[in-house]
């Protein structure tokens, strides 16, 4: 047993860190967040060329056949760089396609970055349970037509392919829809993390190509649940990277900023905040990498492990972000300081796939009610 990165995983981490340091400094993030899409073709190619869009998917699907731990490594580094653009939406869509329809040509194009994806799950009510999925899928001759509205869809603005969760009279349905299909209308919504865009999507009698029906009922539920675990894990790993950035930046500031003729890092009140930030960050590291490992190596424990990670990390990341601003004082509260990027990303990730309270409620059912 080794509860630490292997050598190849450390090398992967270093190469991701180097790539983002070169190509995705905060200045670049700020430029992109000011655009409508937060998308930059060179940055996208740099990541796609590494194969990271399919790092956890088998080679026959166009992936590079590593695992969820490696996906977490990349996600952690993306969090540390506040990487903008549709990585997560594309990985999510690819994960769902790989689980339901692994030979689709679309999947290959998503993992190579030729196409960008998004998963339309939430609806205006905003519930993360599968039971909250009510978008109407009307059965028509071996396929469906979709009518209704999706909300809060991550990376839909840039997506070429939408994977949509809908409900037919017989149960849950997963379909792929070209973003350009007739009757699909994607409208941007303004959200606090501008480095990643959210959108509402309306479906007006949209015809689904029979080849694009990915799964229904139990198979659709399972694929969606498992993909949500992967996305929640990515969110946690990104939060971890962001926490590490905030911690290091805040500690550095505490060593240089002078008040009362001393560096503020001399003051115990400041040290205490930073020490707590270490505790939260290291605890998140344990939770994230255990869950990443469990998704591949101990699937029976994956749901519980991811629930623990998302419940713990969502709170811990917010606490670290808050302390980070507090250590910085006035400058930490400005638009000018890069902390704001990580602060907002942290909040958005806290919400994604359900916050702490949501995952705690699910855990009680899983571990206490059924015990």
């Amino acid at each position: 047993m080794e509860f630490d990165h292997s050598k190849p995983q450390r090398l992967l981490q270093q190469s991701a860190r180097d790539l983002f340091a070169r190509q995705c400094p905060p200045k670049r993030v700020r430029e992109l967040m000011a655009t409508d899409t937060a998308f930059n073709p060179e940055l996208w190619s740099a990541v796609a060329d590494q194969g990271w869009l399919g790092i956890h998917l088998p080679e026959q699907t166009g992936g590079i056949g590593l695992g969820t731990v490696e996906l977490a490594v990349i996600s952690e580094e993306m969090g540390r760089a506040c990487f903008p653009g549709p990585f997560l939406g594309t990985v999510w869509a690819a994960t769902l396609l790989a689980a339901t329809n692994p030979h689709a040509a679309t999947l290959q194009k998503l993992t190579t970055g030729e196409l960008k994806g998004a998963v339309a799950l939430l609806e205006p009510e905003g519930g993360w349970d599968l039971a909250d999925i009510q978008l109407q899928a009307t059965p028509v001759e071996g396929t469906y037509t979709l009518s209704g509205k999706k909300s809060f869809v991550l990376d839909a603005i840039t997506a070429d392919v939408l994977v949509v969760a809908a409900r037919s009279p017989k149960g849950l349905v997963l379909v792929a829809v070209p973003a350009s299909a007739t009757g699909v209308k994607i409208e941007p919504t303004a959200a606090l993390d501008a480095t990643r865009k959210l959108a509402d999507i309306s479906f007006d009698n949209v015809q689904i190509d029979p080849d694009d029906v990915l799964a229904d009922r139990k198979q659709a539920e399972e694929a969606l649940s498992k993909s949500l675990d992967v996305v929640a894990l990515c969110a946690c790993a990104e939060m971890l990277g962001g926490m590490q950035w905030i911690l290091e930046t805040s500690a550095e500031y505490a060593k240089t900023r002078q008040q009362f003729g001393k560096t503020i890092g001399t003051f115990q009140a400041v040290q205490s905040m930073l020490a707590d930030m270490v505790l939260w960050t290291e605890s998140v590291r344990s939770a994230v990498y255990y869950a990443a490992w469990a998704i591949d190596a101990d699937p029976a424990d994956a749901r519980r492990a991811v629930g623990i990670a998302k419940a713990y990390t969502s709170d811990a990341s917010r606490e670290v972000a808050n302390r980070g601003v507090q250590v910085h004082g006035g400058i930490g509260f400005t638009w000018e300081h890069d902390l704001q990027l990580f602060y907002k990303r942290s909040k958005a990730l806290e919400i994604l796939t359900g916050d702490s309270a949501y995952h705690r409620a699910a855990l009680v059912e899983l571990v206490f009610d059924q015990a």
Partner: protein
């Protein structure tokens, strides 16, 4: 990153499982039932572990240990928790004094003390704190003067856990009052039966007396009892404290998990508003908080042991563990109170365990280095911030 077990680790686990199946006490005695009976229950269990070769998993074989890795130590903790095994007795000896003797003791000291720590025959206490030397323990004043081949010791220690039942004491004393405060300290391994030691129990707010005052009047301790070198006892103390922080955490998961299970059980049995308490959405959130925090503690412990396996010596991550578990236990004790409602205040409800836990846990953020000291250590040694005092 591979949390799967190697063949030899699997073998270790399976042997342990088989042994537990055959040797786990049939009857569960709870701490609240009867202090004497509980003490005997734990002694018997400790002796059984020792005889089975499981008492000191990562300790050297020649001193009664198993000679296994820290990874196997982690597996051991997991299996103990899974089997709902009793807690271990003599945590100061096993968690703090033993590793210190292994690190800096002489061959003779290792042979003499280590097996009896593992068997539970010797309970140890730790004579560190004094009335004027708490968090700043290096300012201790208990004086030792050389007289032939003995030190003559006069002074006082305080907050000494288990001194009233201990056979041995790791004692630190000032042997060179002229030297700088960290330089004139010596560490001694002292037999508690030596004349000149008076132990006076201190009652805790929980009503029991786990810690004590110790008074030394012309206590004569042979020079051969020195561990490490004369006037270099501070290094010994630091080694002991680092091990205390790193190791105490590893056995605690078992105890905390038992508490949480009992708490959930209470929440299922008690009713309020005509419904089981566990159906109250606020209580559900609170129980889940305890569960999540506890499981993250388990993962932190496993990761720490995995790191320790690489580095060999506990570092400042021990302070993270100490800070984490002490505050966790306090939060859990509070959540239990919320589950129990008005029953929480009854000192004889459920054998008094919940009131006891609540009050006892208050001391967790003070003993073994206050949370403030742990945060100082983390800030200074992990982040490299300047000393604040």
């Amino acid at each position: 990153m591979d949390l799967g077990l190697t063949d030899s680790e699997l073998k270790f686990r399976d042997e342990l499982r088989a042994w537990l199946k055959a040797n786990l006490p049939k009857k569960m005695v709870k701490s609240a039932d009867n202090a004497k009976e509980y003490y005997q229950y734990l002694s018997d269990w400790q002796m059984a572990l020792y005889k089975g070769g499981w008492a000191g998993v990562s300790w050297p074989k020649e001193y009664g240990g198993r000679g296994s890795s820290f990874i196997e130590q982690a597996i051991f903790q997991e299996e103990m928790a899974l089997a709902d095994a009793p807690e271990r007795m003599g945590t100061i000896g096993q968690g703090l004094v033993g590793p210190t003797i292994i690190a800096v003791g002489t061959e003779e000291q290792k042979k003499k003390y280590l097996p009896r720590i593992l068997s539970g025959e010797d309970i140890w206490c730790q004579g560190f704190s004094e009335p004027n030397a708490g968090s700043d323990v290096a300012s201790l004043e208990t004086k030792a003067v050389l007289d032939g081949d003995h030190f003559v010791i006069n002074g006082q220690k305080i907050w000494t856990s288990y001194a009233h039942i201990a056979q041995q004491c790791l004692l630190i004393v000032r042997t060179d009052p002229a030297a700088a405060k960290h330089k004139g300290i010596t560490a001694l391994l002292v037999d508690m039966k030596t004349p000149g030691i008076e132990v006076s129990p201190l009652k805790m707010m929980s009503g029991d007396s786990m810690f004590n005052e110790m008074f030394f009047t012309n206590l004569r301790v042979p020079v051969s009892a020195v561990i490490g070198k004369v006037n270099e006892g501070w290094n010994v103390a630091i080694t002991a404290l680092a091990n205390e922080r790193a190791n105490l955490g590893t056995g605690l998961y078992v105890i905390f998990k038992r508490n949480l299970d009992a708490m959930v059980d209470q929440a299922k049995r008690l009713k309020r508003g005509g419904r089981p308490v566990i159906e109250d959405p606020v209580i559900r959130q609170r129980l889940a908080q305890a569960y999540v925090d506890l499981e993250v503690f388990r993962l932190n412990t496993t990761r720490s042991l995995s790191m320790l396996n690489k580095t060999g010596a506990p570092g400042p991550e021990g302070s993270i563990q100490k800070l984490y578990w002490s505050e966790l236990n306090q939060r859990m004790a509070q959540i239990a109170m919320e589950v129990l409602g008005p029953y929480a205040q009854l000192t004889d409800y459920d054998g008094g365990r919940w009131v006891y836990n609540y009050l006892r846990s208050r001391g967790n953020t003070i003993e073994a280095g206050t949370s403030e000291v742990q945060r100082n250590i983390i800030a200074q040694r992990v982040l490299g911030l300047p000393r604040s005092y």
